[in-house]
């Protein structure tokens, strides 16, 4: 394995709080993990866990109390390192008096492109995020979804190797979320590393190679989504319909719940065929048989429920 794309070591951030700034609040406590080149990495946690704080530290917007981080082998203090990264902030704000095209042009100027190259990129990435039609509209007229797309465009138009996205799908409608997911997959196909934070767990499950879970400023675990959740098949779910006049077999009745016009039965995997036999005997029509796996959400609720000292809802203030 070569140089990790992102290397975080003991990253800690304290804030001075209180009127006289005497007390400290630890927003991030000794964060340590790595992200491999080419991974799509999810950074998960509830609001206020410290996800945005981590991203701000990596981007150089705030400075760590202790600890280090390197991106592609270069320290986060190195300004030139920023040539290789792209960043989409949460709830992106851009200069609302600029048009989309002007904003991308402005963003591109920070890199050493020729004028022709810059213009080509602006057009190409406007197209890529589907904003060609609105290219010359002022950003103050943009909807949230459109702003998100401009944000992604400015984050990737210089072909960075590592892309950081803070809550890229929050606040978007399903179409928007789908588009963002497609872009992330596309970036992965190009061999780039994508690091995004989210509290929308289904997205993480679908997209990520690995995830890290952050709660109350502390890392809870790093691994594949499956590893995190540790596969415990909870059982099987059978959906079935009964013809008129027929009733649920007595042995199963206790575990059957109505689900619309149909019924739902949960059984342990070992009892699956037995249950199906019984249902067939009752002339039930089987609609579906599904494996029940715990989700990240279940893991989350367990995890967060366990936490006794709630962290300050710092990130709420940012909204």
């Amino acid at each position: 394995m070569g140089t990790p794309a992102i290397e975080i070591e003991g990253l800690t951030k304290d804030y001075a709080v209180g009127f006289w700034r005497k007390r400290t609040r630890r927003a991030l406590d000794g964060l340590t993990f790595q992200v491999r080149e080419g991974e799509v990495f999810g950074f998960l946690g509830p609001n206020g866990a410290g996800k945005t704080t981590t991203l701000k530290l990596l981007m150089g917007l705030i400075f760590p109390t202790s600890g280090t981080a390197r991106i592609r082998g270069r320290s986060i203090d190195d300004v030139e390192m920023h040539r290789e990264i792209g960043f989409l902030p949460e709830q992106p704000y851009f200069y609302d008096y600029l048009t989309a095209r002007e904003l991308l042009d402005y963003s591109a100027r920070f890199f050493r492109f020729t004028e022709a190259d810059r213009r080509e990129r602006v057009t190409r990435f406007l197209e890529r995020v589907g904003l060609s039609a609105a290219a010359d509209v002022q950003l103050r007229r943009f909807s949230k979804g459109m702003l998100q797309r401009v944000g992604i465009a400015q984050a990737i138009l210089h072909d960075p190797q590592v892309i950081f996205l803070d809550e890229p799908t929050s606040g978007l409608d399903p179409v928007g979320r789908r588009e963002v997911r497609d872009i992330i997959l596309d970036l992965q196909r190009q061999g780039r590393t994508v690091f995004f934070s989210t509290h929308i767990l289904p997205d993480a499950e679908v997209l990520c190679d690995r995830v890290a879970v952050l709660v109350g400023g502390k890392l809870q675990g790093v691994g594949t989504p499956q590893e995190i959740v540790s596969i415990e098949v909870q059982g099987m779910e059978i959906l079935f319909e009964l013809p008129a006049g027929r009733s649920v077999p007595g042995a199963l009745a206790g575990r059957v719940t109505p689900s619309g016009v149909a019924y739902r039965l949960e059984v342990p995997e070992a009892e699956l065929y037995d249950a199906i036999t019984q249902l067939r005997a009752a002339e039930a029509r089987i609609l579906s048989v599904t494996q029940l796996k715990p989700t990240l959400e279940d893991y989350f609720f367990r995890l967060v429920g366990r936490e006794t000292a709630p962290s300050y809802a710092v990130e709420v203030a940012n909204k």
């Binding site: 701000k56 981007m59 150089g60 917007l61 705030i62 400075f63 300004v79 030139e80 390192m81 920023h82 040539r83 990264i85 792209g86 960043f87 989409l88 902030p89 709830q91 992106p92 704000y93 851009f94 200069y95 008096y97 600029l98 402005y106 963003s107 100027r109 920070f110 890199f111 944000g151 400015q154 984050a155 950081f164 940012n318």
Partner: protein, 259 residues
């Protein structure tokens, strides 16, 4: 040498232009020029004097208002609105960004001043029916006013790096007024019997930005020539003070944890 400050400056200028406040000020200034011509009718025999006084004073006052009110928001707005997040994630040093914002506001002020000066000359043309060589002095007076703007903007920018617009405005205006009274302060201190008071007022006199250095409105109105040595000295004074302020601002901004 990177061109970051330059295109940041252009972008800052663009913001001022698209911000309609600027247009109102220009309109107001043109109105003043018209008033100058009218007032000249009343003060017969001293039309030139009055027009130059009124014109230069208007240019000075309006530009000052702009320097302060836009200046105190230069950095503050970017932090509050989080527009800085995506910018600082790019290969840009914080001081480069700061320099760009500063130059951008200066550009706005320069262009605004140029337009108003044009208006002033038009008013003079109307009164005198000719522009003489003596009117070149007016350009020098305008140059000094621009130096003043540059210094005030640097002050406002400095405060903008760590303070809210209201407080920054108070600090900046406070320093401006104090700077105007600096020599009086020293004179008053010189009369005191206490050595400490003398020392303190003396130090203040040298430390405070001495804005009265740049004021030649009255002299220009009376047609006095401005010595070339004063031009160099004022330029140097402004440049040095501005450099100091920008260095301080850069230090503060570079170490600031953004929200």
């Amino acid at each position: 040498m990177s061109s970051v400050p330059l295109f940041v400056a252009v972008n800052t200028f663009r913001e001022s232009v698209r911000d309609r406040v600027l247009y109102n000020l220009i309109f107001f200034a043109l109105l003043m020029m018209a008033a100058a011509v009218l007032v000249g009718q009343i003060s017969i025999g001293i039309e030139r004097l009055v027009i130059i006084n009124l014109g230069l004073s208007a240019i000075s006052l309006l530009g000052l208002v702009m320097s302060v009110f836009i200046g105190v928001g230069l950095v503050y707005k970017e932090i509050e609105k989080r527009t800085l997040y995506s910018i600082l994630a790019k290969p840009v040093r914080r001081w480069e960004f700061l320099a760009g914002k500063y130059l951008g506001l200066l550009l706005t002020l320069a262009i605004n001043t140029a337009l108003m000066t044009l208006g002033l000359f038009l008013a003079l043309l109307y009164v005198d029916r000719a522009i003489g060589r003596a009117d070149a002095h007016i350009l020098l007076a305008v140059y000094f006013i621009l130096l003043e703007f540059a210094l005030v903007t640097a002050l406002a920018l400095f405060f903008s790096c760590f303070s809210t617009p209201i407080l920054s405005t108070l600090y900046t205006l406070g320093l401006y007024v104090a700077g105007m009274f600096a020599s009086d302060l020293r004179d008053a201190g010189a009369l005191s019997s206490s050595g400490a008071v003398k020392a303190v007022t003396s130090v203040l006199y040298y430390a405070l930005p001495n804005f009265s250095n740049f004021n030649v409105i009255g002299a220009t109105a009376h047609g006095d020539p401005i010595p070339i040595s004063l031009v160099w000295q004022n330029t140097a004074y402004a440049a040095i003070y501005i450099l100091a302020l920008l260095l301080a601002a850069s230090a503060v901004f570079s170490n600031r944890n953004l929200k």
